[in-house]
């Protein structure tokens, strides 16, 4: 017989073991709660993102929305109802062009992408409000949103002067990729 196995267990040992189990349970619960909290995006946050002023945290929140099916659906619905204008996906012909497109026509605004003559990777993304569009309303646009490959992107717009706003972007910027994706959709608000 093994004498060690029959050694009586003290009350202190039992308490310690019990506390350890409780702590482990608390830690597990806390981790679970944290995951739940971080994945939840409130409607208020979504509306703020579309209608409120731009902040440095916006892209992080947009990434979070992109990875959450429900949030993406809700965000898209909010964008559709609050956007000043929308540019829908391009016709199939645009995607079969041998060269990268530099013009995305739309009903209310066109987008142009032009490389700098210095050829150092700087691009100009231009948003031009159509002559037929309600210029006064659209000229107040402050943010350009894009949805491409299930990802949402946003860029603050400079003042629209004479129906045109121009943004400077480096090569490889996600907005350039969105521009070149015929399936992408753009919104301004």
């Amino acid at each position: 017989m093994n004498n060690k196995s029959q050694k009586p267990v003290s009350t202190e040992d039992t308490e310690t073991a019990f506390l350890m189990i409780l702590n482990a349970q608390k830690a597990y619960q806390a981790t679970l709660n944290k995951q739940q909290t971080s994945s939840h995006i409130s409607v208020r946050q979504l509306i703020r993102l579309v209608t409120g002023p731009q902040t440095s945290d916006d892209q992080a929140l947009l990434n979070q929305i992109s990875s959450n099916f429900n949030a993406r659906r809700q965000f898209r619905a909010i964008l559709n109802t609050t956007a000043l204008a929308t540019q829908h996906r391009q016709a199939a012909a645009a995607s079969t062009s041998s060269q990268a497109p530099h013009h995305r026509p739309g009903d209310e605004f066109d987008l142009y992408l032009r490389a700098s003559s210095k050829d150092d990777g700087l691009f100009y993304l231009q948003l031009v409000i159509s002559e037929t569009a309600k210029t006064t309303k659209l000229s107040t646009a402050e943010v350009l949103f894009a949805e491409t490959q299930g990802l949402f992107l946003s860029l603050p717009l400079p003042n629209i002067i004479e129906r045109l706003a121009q943004i400077v972007l480096p090569k490889g910027h996600p907005m350039i990729n969105a521009f070149q994706d015929p399936e992408a959709e753009f919104f301004i608000r």
């Binding site: 142009y112 700098s116 003559s117 210095k118 700087l122 231009q126 400079p158 400077v168 972007l169 480096p170």
Partner: protein, 431 residues
């Protein structure tokens, strides 16, 4: 070492022009922070500075869009215009370099559509912020040239400019001459589209006739009205220093029509406006408390001050405030000062206070103790921003001679600023 480097000073740091690239005409001109692809806030102003009809760079050099890369941010103002204009001209003449140049140009000034170089603020601060880079250039054997508007020559700090060449200039052509580069001739741009060959002869004859008529019209109507329009625009924008320069230039042109048009503009508009504004305020004395518990001060409580002379005051020290009410049609900015001129040599400023008030509104000055002595009350009133005329008012208040006071008064009233002046003299002088 050859070639020119260009520095654009700001109040925070000196900014070096790194490169200038002509872009396609569809692009809006942009000023970028080097290596960051960040468009600077002055880009919109730069686009206007470049592209016709407002811009001068396209008129001088041809292309209508450029990208300029600079070493550090320039966030506001227009003082970059002289530096960038020179950088463009040097680039055009193949004399611009971003490093290793034999000459470093430090330029600060505004350039208007007539290619005149106008004065800017904070020259001394900008020199201070450029100290390190200037010192380094000097040690590297570079020739350093300061280019500023003539009007700014008085703002130079004597310490920093030892061994450096300073030019006060009034035009872009003078700036080019100063640094030793060629000023490009302004390009002409065709207005009309191509005409069918059959009609060319007839059109040519009509064009000659039209040109003659147009020339006469230009001389008789356009020159004075363009100048007057500029003057009017400057007044509306509160650019009163520019307004005075424009009026001075019109007088120098010695164009009979322009001079007379200017005379009517001055008399019928600016002078009338100055007088109207001077009468658009009421100033009342409030003397609630007697300083040093002496009686008699309350006697003139609530008295209205009329332009010209103050009401009779007590011989004792009285602590008073002034209540200013506006009867103007629009919002006005007022600066008011009380001055003791007892001493013949020095002017003692008892009070200086300013406010922006809407029609019918009032403002109260802080309390000042008024002595029974020579005492003046001066107020300047304008509908325009006080960025320019405030310094003229300060000079008027601090004037220690009648000549200086008259000069400042002329600056103020000739640009449409109203002046309210009232004087009080002791009883013995009144008798």
């Amino acid at each position: 070492m050859s070639g020119y480097e260009v520095l654009i000073p700001t109040t925070r740091h000196a900014v070096k022009v790194i490169s200038i690239t002509a872009e396609a005409p569809d692009i809006r001109s942009v000023v970028c922070l080097n290596k960051t692809y960040q468009a600077l806030p002055i880009s919109a102003g730069y686009e206007q500075f470049v592209r016709r009809p407002t811009g001068i760079i396209e008129k001088l050099l041809g292309p209508s869009a450029y990208r300029v890369d600079v070493s550090a941010p320039i966030t506001q103002g227009d003082s970059w215009q002289l530096g960038l204009a020179l950088a463009h001209i040097l680039k055009y003449n193949d004399e611009f370099v971003d490093h290793g140049g034999g000459t470093l140009i430090w330029a600060s000034g505004e350039v208007d559509s007539q290619l005149r170089v106008n004065s800017v603020d904070h020259i001394a601060t900008k020199i201070e912020a450029s100290r390190e880079i200037l010192q380094s250039a000097k040690e590297n054997g570079q020739r350093v040239i300061f280019l500023i508007a003539k009007e700014n020559l008085g703002d130079l700090h004597s310490g920093i400019i030892s061994g450096m060449t300073v030019f006060g200039v009034s035009s872009l052509a003078e700036s080019c001459e100063a640094i030793g580069t060629k000023m490009p001739k302004q390009l002409t741009f065709p207005q009309a589209s191509a005409t069918p060959a059959k009609k060319r002869g007839k059109v040519k004859a009509l064009a000659v006739l039209g040109s003659l008529v147009g020339l006469v019209g230009l001389l008789v109507f356009n020159v004075p009205f363009r100048s007057l329009n500029n003057s009017y625009q400057y007044e509306q924008a509160g650019q009163l220093r520019m307004l005075r320069m424009e009026m001075r230039d019109i007088r120098r042109q010695k164009n009979w029509v322009a001079t007379n048009a200017l005379y009517f503009f001055e008399v019928m508009y600016l002078s009338a406006k100055s007088k109207k504004l001077a009468n658009a305020i009421t100033i009342k004395i409030n003397a609630d408390a007697d300083a040093n518990e002496q009686s008699g001060c309350r006697d003139f409580n609530g008295q209205v001050i009329n332009a010209g002379r103050l009401p009779s005051l007590s011989d004792n020290d009285c602590k008073v405030t002034f209540e200013v009410t506006s009867h103007a049609d629009n919002k006005i900015r007022i600066w008011l000062a009380a001055i003791d001129r007892t001493s013949a040599n020095t002017t003692l400023q008892l009070l200086k206070n300013g406010a922006e008030i809407a029609p019918g509104q009032q403002f109260f000055t802080p309390a000042a103790t008024i002595k029974s002595a020579n005492f003046d009350l001066i107020a300047a009133i304008s509908e325009r921003d006080d960025a320019v005329w405030r310094s003229w008012f300060d000079n008027l208040v601090a004037a220690d001679s009648i000549e200086i006071a008259n000069l400042e008064m002329d600056r103020l009233t000739s640009t449409g600023v109203g002046i309210f002046q009232a004087r009080w003299r002791p009883y013995n002088e009144l008798d």
